[in-house]
């Protein structure tokens, strides 16, 4: 175990009483509670942590936060492993295990670094220009290229052992970011009594105040943060969410937050709690106080480990108690660098400042007071070092900044801290549709016009002084609360901040010159993760990829896991320079969610495994399971498919069930069919307008089969409706269309025919239905009912009766989808199982056999009854089905006009017919395509396809239904079903194979 040689003895927010062991790249190391993985590595003197994507260059830790492009690690192992985590955001916990990525065999010795040697052959977009020969060559090259693809690894095993949660919340004010501006905003909004949420992505609120040595009210700023949090904690309607990244700003002030609930704990140590939680917040008003990201500077070899952002260096010193180096070179284009220089010097780092601005700013005094050398008007020519920066060459810049004005000097250093200026974190503002404007003084984009109900405060708004951030935060919080109808936050007390010197303007020197001028261009990195250099940007511009969007896609700038937080503005600046335009004219690429990546797991939430999607079952389901039924998924329903007996194949079982239904009696669970009560004086009229056939004249007590079309004339659904009373119908729909048909009726009723006096109510779930089929159906039912007269005269086919069955109040409909004598018995769903078991018991004597959907399909196909959605596909009219007789002549209905269009009148439309195979044992595969004759070279003209096909045990031969071009006129014709391996000769027949006159079901 190492002893953290770069840890300061005191200071910072780490808990030196709580050392934590962890493993990095196979080495056991130690850090403290309060560390991030990055700070712990730095405390151990480790700077080399990764390899870049393309050239595999050694890379270190650039930042201390969300913007990190380099320090990406593979966290943990097995099913819990996670790729591409930013070490700067991973909180240290005991036993943490992390590995570097994208290197082999090891981080120090990476074979992929060969790419760096031939890097001249790999400029931006090189792959568009080569790998084209031979014609199919790419498939071979690709194999090798893919091997190099990607950074970390996905888990090799699933499912994810952790659970994820979601929360919907509504609030008056959502404050994003808990730095000084956000805290002030939350205090003001909270004081007004508004419902406030304050979210910050970091482990503790405080933002930049945790990383500086500034004071508030004369005390360390963190003290004020504690007080502010205590005040917020005392407000009932304020919710503070640490470790929560606001990642998306969507329409209508809907924001999405990802909370890392237990990611900071050892894996699996909090089994009761979710790993992450997705907060879906509908906010009346939003205050964005998201701070700013520091910009790197673009100079030759600016990517070596040990080169980091000045603010990050400062954060490691102040927040984590780490001394990141012995000798530091601080490179400044903005005053922000001086605070870092001072803080580094104060913990014993030897510091030199290089400021690209001609004159050192006022704040340089503090540095000089610590005898820090300040070289104004200088820049970095290049750097030296391997796995860590060793030295840097600095030289005076000429007035334009495009060349060097004097000799170079080499400075030894093991840290280069750079500050090229600050980019307000405008991501969410921009996602919300807000427009950005360019602030030339500070060389950055700032929020301009909002389009949603949002305000911006603090550094995110380009307000970089602490005092101003606080007041702006308070004003924003107060205004937001007021806009939401609350007041009283304006006079929340704010602490007094130190007055700093007036800042000097930032110098927007987008790329420092190379040396020697015109010589071999050394790499000036712009996008560290994707290895995009200033030269790549120039190449893209030269080749015509001049829109920022083309630049992005041609060079991949900003397309990495950091989405260009450190690179985009520099790339724009360089491009603008090349095109001779101003940065704002060039514009930005589009900011998109998420602000930082979010796990798929948290987006799915609980909708996985058993809760992925509701499984709907009928009241009789337990019985089916106990009988060993196999189930078929129909929408969300599980329907019994067939009931194999031990040792039976599906074929055996279905044949047995089919025979039972025709020769004895069989029982089907028909509970899933949709049922709609249509009631009112105009109920018949509504049905008449919906169905192709008429319902108004249907007598009470009787049932009728109906067909409905879409307005384009294509069959939508079918089913039997019963007239319950003069003003009352019970409409049945297919299982899959239950919701759709109800919606369809409602849509027409409410929007087109509001004058109709009729209500539609779903009663699908109210009823459980057992359907008896077979010659003994009546006899069996007779044993179970005393008050329903089953005599065929009294209770004819297509009638319904109410009474009791097995002592249960029931509705019995004498309809038949099997073509047999058949009764559908419906009872209150709670009695479904009781009814079913009673029937099963009484049926034993009759050889009662339960049957599933497969047998139902066979039986109805024997009769030529269609299944909407199987024998139709949205392109089939009633006439195509041979059901023209059901199309009423003397009334209009939805879809009728379409049946008279040119195409629907064609004689060669695909029409429903039956098929008999020449070999009676051959069962055609459904979906088989029908052609005129076998063989032939593609394209072979197709005449139609097999929609339904079964072995009919009752008939002793196979049967099939098909849609065939001009089929109605082809009865008797020989055709061929062409399958991949063979062709099957068939004869076109009428689609009714059994009992065409319906004697069996009527009898």
């Amino acid at each position: 175990m190492s002893e953290q040689p770069f840890r300061l003895f005191a200071g910072g927010r780490v808990d030196r009483e709580r050392p934590l062991d962890f493993v990095w790249a196979g080495r056991r190391l130690q850090g403290y509670a309060g560390d991030t993985l990055a700070s712990a590595l730095l405390a151990n003197g480790i700077h080399l942590v990764g390899r870049s994507f393309k050239y595999h260059r050694p890379r270190g830790i650039l930042s201390a936060g969300a913007e990190e492009p380099n320090a990406l690690v593979q966290l943990e192992r097995g099913a819990r492993t996670q790729p591409n985590l930013r070490a700067t955001q991973v909180e240290l916990y005991a036993g943490l295990h992390a590995e570097p990525q994208n290197c082999w065999p090891s981080l120090e010795l990476d074979v992929g670094a060969i790419n760096g040697l031939v890097s001249r052959l790999l400029p931006a977009g090189f792959y568009y220009k080569t790998f084209m020969w031979p014609r199919d060559g790419w498939m071979v090259y690709e194999r090798f290229i893919r091997r190099a693809a990607g950074l970390g690894r996905a888990p090799s095993e699933g499912p994810d052992p952790d659970v994820y949660d979601k929360m919907h919340v509504h609030c008056d004010v959502l404050v994003v970011g808990a730095g000084p501006a956000g805290l002030a905003a939350a205090l003001a909004a909270g004081a007004s009594g508004a419902r406030v949420i304050l979210a910050d992505e970091q482990s503790e609120p405080g933002g930049s105040l945790l990383a500086t040595r500034e004071t508030l009210d004369g005390e360390p700023a963190a003290r004020w943060v504690e007080r502010a949090l205590a005040d917020l904690g005392a407000m009932d309607e304020v919710r503070v969410l640490p470790r929560t990244t606001v990642f998306g700003y969507h329409d209508h002030n809907y924001l999405t937050l990802a909370e890392r609930v237990t990611d900071h704990l050892p894996p699996g140590s909090a089994p009761d709690r979710p790993r992450q939680r997705l907060w879906k917040v509908r906010a009346r008003e939003v205050v964005l106080a998201t701070g700013a990201h520091e910009r790197p500077m673009v100079f030759a070899q600016n990517d070596r480990p040990g080169i980091m952002l000045a603010g990050a260096a400062r954060t490691y010193v102040n927040r984590y108690g780490v001394r990141p180096a012995d000798r530091a070179l601080v490179v400044a284009a903005d005053d922000g660098a001086y605070a870092a220089a001072v803080d580094l010097a104060d913990v014993g780092v030897e510091v030199t400042v290089v400021d690209v601005r001609a004159q050192a700013p006022a704040c340089a005094e503090q540095a000089r007071a610590r005898s820090i050398e300040v070289l104004a008007g200088h820049g970095v020519v290049r750097t030296f070092g391997g796995s860590r920066v060793r030295a840097a060459e600095v030289a005076p810049l000429d007035g334009t900044g495009a060349g060097w004005a004097g000799g170079a000097r080499t400075l030894r250093c093991d840290l280069v801290a750079m500050c090229g200026g600050w980019n307000p974190t405008v991501h969410l503002f921009s996602q919300s549709g807000g427009r950005l404007a360019w602030n030339a003084e500070r060389a950055c984009f700032v929020p301009a016009e909002a389009r949603q109900r949002v305000r911006v405060a603090g550094a995110a708004n380009g307000t970089f002084s602490l005092a101003a951030a606080l007041t702006e935060g308070r004003a924003g919080g107060d205004a937001a609360a007021r806009a939401a109808g609350f007041s009283g936050g304006a006079d929340v007390a704010l602490p007094a901040a130190e007055e700093g010197a007036e800042p000097a303007p930032t110098r927007a020197l987008w790329s420092l010159p190379t040396r020697p001028p015109g010589g071999a261009p050394a790499k000036h990195f712009v996008d560290f993760q994707n290895d995009v250099t200033a030269n790549d940007v120039a190449l893209a511009a030269r080749e015509g990829y001049r829109s920022v969007e083309h630049l992005k896609r041609y060079t991949t700038t900003g397309m990495g896991t950091d989405q260009g937080k450190t690179s985009n503005v520099n790339a724009l600046g360089i491009l603008a320079g090349l095109l001779g335009r101003e940065v704002p004219e060039v514009g930005t690429t589009t900011f998109r969610p998420p602000y930082t990546p979010v796990t798929f797991g948290v987006l799915a939430g609980r909708d996985v495994g058993a809760l992925a999607d509701p499984v709907r079952t009928t009241p009789m389901h337990r019985w089916h399971v106990a009988q060993g039924a196999r189930f078929e998924d129909v929408g969300q329903w599980k329907r019994p498919w067939y009931y194999p007996r031990p040792g039976e194949s599906m074929h055996d079982a279905v044949s047995r069930e089919c025979l039972a239904a025709r020769n004895a009696v069989a029982l089907l669970d028909a509970s899933t069919l949709g049922k709609i009560e249509v009631r009112g004086p105009d109920a018949g009229e509504l049905l008449d307008r919906i169905y192709t056939n008429g319902f108004k004249k249907l007598p009470v007590g009787r049932c009728r089969y109906g067909l409905m079309c879409r307005e384009d004339g294509m069959v939508l659904d079918d089913g039997v409706s019963a007239r319950l009373a003069d003003d009352r119908f019970l409409v049945h729909t297919t299982t899959g269309n239950a919701a759709r048909v109800l919606a369809w009726l409602e849509e027409w009723r409410q929007t087109e025919w509001p004058e109709l006096r009729v209500w539609c109510d779903s009663v699908t779930e109210q009823w459980a239905t057992a359907s008896l089929s077979g010659p003994f159906a009546r006899r069996l039912l007779g044993e179970l009912t005393r008050d329903i007269d089953l005599d065929p005269e009294a209770f004819p086919f297509m009638a319904w009766r109410a009474g009791t069955v097995a002592g249960i109040p029931a509705r019995v409909m004498r309809v038949s989808f099997t073509g047999e004598q058949s009764y559908e018995v419906s009872v209150g769903a709670g009695f479904g199982l009781a009814l079913w078991t009673a029937i099963a018991l009484a049926g034993e004597r009759y050889g009662l056999t339960p049957f599933g959907t497969e047998t139902m399909h066979v039986l109805r196909a024997e009769k030529g009854f269609i299944i909407a959605g199987q024998d139709t596909d949205g392109t089939v009219t009633p006439h195509d089905l041979g059901l023209g007789a059901m199309v009423a002549r003397h009334k209009d209905f939805i879809g009728k006009r379409s049946l008279a269009r040119a195409d629907t009148l064609r004689a060669d439309r695909k029409q429903l017919v039956g098929l008999r195979t020449d070999d009676p044992r051959e069962v055609l595969p459904e979906g088989g395509q029908i052609v005129a004759r076998a063989g032939g070279r593609p394209p072979v003209p197709m005449l139609g396809h097999v929609t339904s096909s079964y072995w009919s045990a009752n008939l002793g031969h196979s049967i099939a239904l098909a849609l065939v071009k001009g089929g109605h006129a082809r009865l008797g014709e020989s055709l061929v079903v062409q399958l991949p391996q063979r062709s099957v000769p068939v004869t076109v027949v009428a689609p009714t194979f059994l009992d065409p006159d319906g004697e069996r079901m009527r009898g």
Binding site: H252, K280, D712, E747, T751, P754, D892, R901
Partner: protein, 96 residues
């Protein structure tokens, strides 16, 4: 996630609603009086406006009522909500 104001239930998330396409497409009183072209126009042709769009929604997870909305199809701003049978408010004509 749009926030849509149901005229009966108040503002609810878009997921509670069903979208019903362009509003005010009246079914011809006598479809058979139309030629194929006019019928095709009724069936399929849509304004598909970029800007203020009059459209139908149904609160399917809530009160099951259909109603009309004027929504800007670029910004998604909802400019008006009105019941079936009511005339679109004048404001809804903005941008047309």
């Amino acid at each position: 996630m749009l926030l849509i104001e149901c005229p009966w239930c108040g503002p609810r998330d878009e997921q509670e609603f069903g979208y019903g396409g362009e509003a005010h497409i009246v079914r011809p009183a006598d479809p058979h009086a139309l030629d194929d072209a006019a019928w095709g126009e009724y069936l399929f042709m849509r304004t598909n406006r970029k800007g203020a769009h009059r459209e139908r929604w149904v609160h399917s997870e809530g009160c099951r009522r259909w109603f009309n909305v004027v929504r800007d199809t670029v910004s998604h701003e909802i400019l008006a909500v009105y019941r079936v049978g009511e005339a679109p408010p004048a404001a809804g004509r903005r941008g047309e």
